[in-house]
Structure formats: structure tokens, C-alpha cells
Chain length 71, copies 2
DNA sequence: ACATAATGTACATTAAACTTAACATTAAGT
DNA sequence: ACTTAATGTTAAGTTTAATGTACATTATGT
């Protein structure tokens, strides 16, 4: 199961959902859905989000129970 | 534009497209499409592929012209 | 040369991502 | 209290990812 810390990282940058959506070319609803964990975005969008939020993509999204496994 | 080195990494592990598909729960056609760059898989699938190929997800997939940008 | 595994491609269909629009609720500022 | 920005959420629609099937081409091995 996929987990993410988009909401947390977005808050850290003081971006609204709309702000972030504009930066990565999706609507604010898409951001909201992702934050809720409603679906798994494309890797393209995930990479854009990671870039916008200045964090590694694998730190922003990870598979449940596997985050520390590979360290 | 999204780029990847799935084919190269798969070869390095001597996996067939079917092998890799089974490991990440998709069909061999999906692997073939990804290798051709025909579409952008979900972050969930990208993470599974990275794990199966023992490489960081951001080393496996990256946005054109941005690979070295963030170093 | 033959058999078989692996890959390339294409088409029709299903599933999931993403959009657009709408409305209700919460937070922030005056 | 009022206004406005931000968020939560839902439904219906479009686009794209992913499947299933099928057949042709390219290795690989004997």
C-alpha cells in the first residue's frame, strides 16, 4: 500500500493545494486525492511533486512497511 | 518527458519481461510498454520495479533533461 | 533445420488516473 | 458578523494505464 507525505511537505513550504497543483500541472482536487491516499499518481507526477517540494521521490512516496526495509 | 532504464537494469539481472512482470504483478506487455517509454506507470509500480531491480526509483525513472539538475 | 523461449506490436476492453464542476465546511483577516 | 481563501468531498466525464488475446519476428539451444 502506498503512503506519502505530500500534505506535510506542502505545509512546510506554505503552498496551498492550488499552488502546488499549478506548479505540477494538475488540479487542486488531484492534489487533495493524492494527500488522502485515494490513488497512486503517475511516476511523472510523483517526480514533479518531489521536485516542487524539494525532496527525493522515494522520501515523498513509499510502499507501506517497506520504507526502512532497503536501507 | 519521462525516461527510464528498465530494459538495461532488467538485462543486468537477466530477467525476461515475463519474469519482471511476475515480480511486480503486471503483464509482460506492460513491461514492454514501459521499456518503450509508451506511458508513465503509477508510482506504486515504479517503486515495485525499483525494488525488483535493486535501484533507487529516481535512478530508474527521471524527467528528460532533469536527471543531473538536482544533484 | 527444428523447436522453443523471448520479444515486438496491435487491437479491443477494463481499470484507474485525472479533470471539471459544484457545493459545503473550515480557517483567517477586517 | 462578514467576506474571502482554503479545504473536504462527491459525482460525472475524459484520458491514459494496464489487461487479454493473438500473431509475427528474433534469438537460443540442440
Amino acid at each position: 500500500m502506498l503512503k506519502n507525505r505530500v500534505k506535510e511537505m506542502r505545509a512546510r513550504h506554505s503552498f496551498t493545494q492550488s499552488d502546488l497543483g499549478k506548479r505540477v500541472d494538475v488540479t487542486r482536487q488531484t492534489i487533495a486525492f493524492i494527500e488522502k491516499g485515494e490513488f497512486s499518481p503517475s511516476i511523472t507526477l510523483a517526480l514533479k511533486l518531489a521536485k516542487a517540494l524539494k525532496i527525493e521521490v522515494n522520501e515523498l512516496f513509499w510502499l507501506e512497511g517497506e520504507k526502512e526495509d532497503e536501507k
